[in-house]
C-alpha cells in the first residue's frame, strides 16, 4: 500500500524533507509500524523518530495516536507538539 507522509516544522528541518510517498509491504500497518520503519533508516531518521522524542501524528488531517491503523492512500503527517495561539 502507499502512504503519503508529510513532515512539518522542526521535524521537517531535521529530516531535510517535506514528505514522501511510502510504499508499505504489510497488511494493516499501524502508525507505530511506520515510525519503526522510518527509525530503521538510521542517521537523522533514527534521531528524529527516537523513542524519547515527543512527536504528534495526524491521519488524513485528524490527530491520531500510534495505534491508529492505516489504509492505502492515507496521508500521514508527523510533527512536533503544536505551538499556536
Amino acid at each position: 500500500m502507499k502512504i503519503q507522509l508529510r513532515f512539518f516544522a522542526s521535524l521537517r528541518e531535521a529530516l531535510g524533507s517535506e514528505g514522501e510517498i511510502l510504499e508499505v509491504d504489510r497488511d494493516a500497518p499501524r502508525v507505530a509500524d511506520i515510525v519503526a520503519l522510518l527509525r530503521a533508516r538510521g542517521g537523522r531518521w533514527a534521531d528524529a523518530f527516537a523513542t524519547d522524542k515527543t512527536l504528534m501524528a495526524a491521519r488524513n488531517q485528524e490527530m491520531c495516536d500510534d495505534q491508529t491503523p492505516l489504509a492505502d492512500g492515507d496521508e500521514l503527517a508527523f510533527f512536533p507538539p503544536v505551538t499556536g495561539g
Binding site: S10, Q61, A77, P80, V82, G84, G85
Partner: protein
Amino acid sequence: MERGQIIVTSAPFDPHAESERLRAENPAIGAVVDFIGWMRDFNDGDPVDGMTLEHYPGMTEKALGKIVDEALQRWDLLGVRVVHRVGELRPGDPIVLVAVASAHRGEAFRACEFLIDYLKTRAPFWKKERTASGERWVEARDTDHEAEARWRTEQGENDERNG
C-alpha cells in the same frame, strides 16, 4: 445560522473589528468574551524581532472546526469567531482572536478559556521566532497540556454525573 466562524489568514487583522462582527450578528447577544493573543518582543529571556507561523493547510481549519464544535455542544453559546494568523509576524501583531458570544457571561467565559486551551494543544500551528542569535522553534509548554487535560477531566466527571 452558522454559529462557528473560523478564519486562518496570512494578512494582519483587527481583533476588535472581528469581535464586533460577531456581536453585530445577533441582538440576543448579551455577553461577548474575547481572548486576544499578541506577539511579544521577547521570549524565554531573549528579545525577539519577528516570527514565522507555520501551519498544516487543510488540517488547520478542520482542527479549529472540531474544537469550536465541541465548545458549541458543551456550552449554550450564540456564536464563536476564531481568527488566527499564519506567515510572518512582528512584535505587537495580534496572533489569535477567540471571541465567544452568549446570552449571559458564565458560558462565554468558560467556553473562551476552553477554546484557547484546546487550540494551544491541538491546532497544527508552529512558531519559529527570530532573535539576535538566529532563528529557533518555540517549544510547547507543559502548562498548556495541563490546562487541556483539566477540561477533559471535567468533561469526564460531567458525563458520569449526567450519564
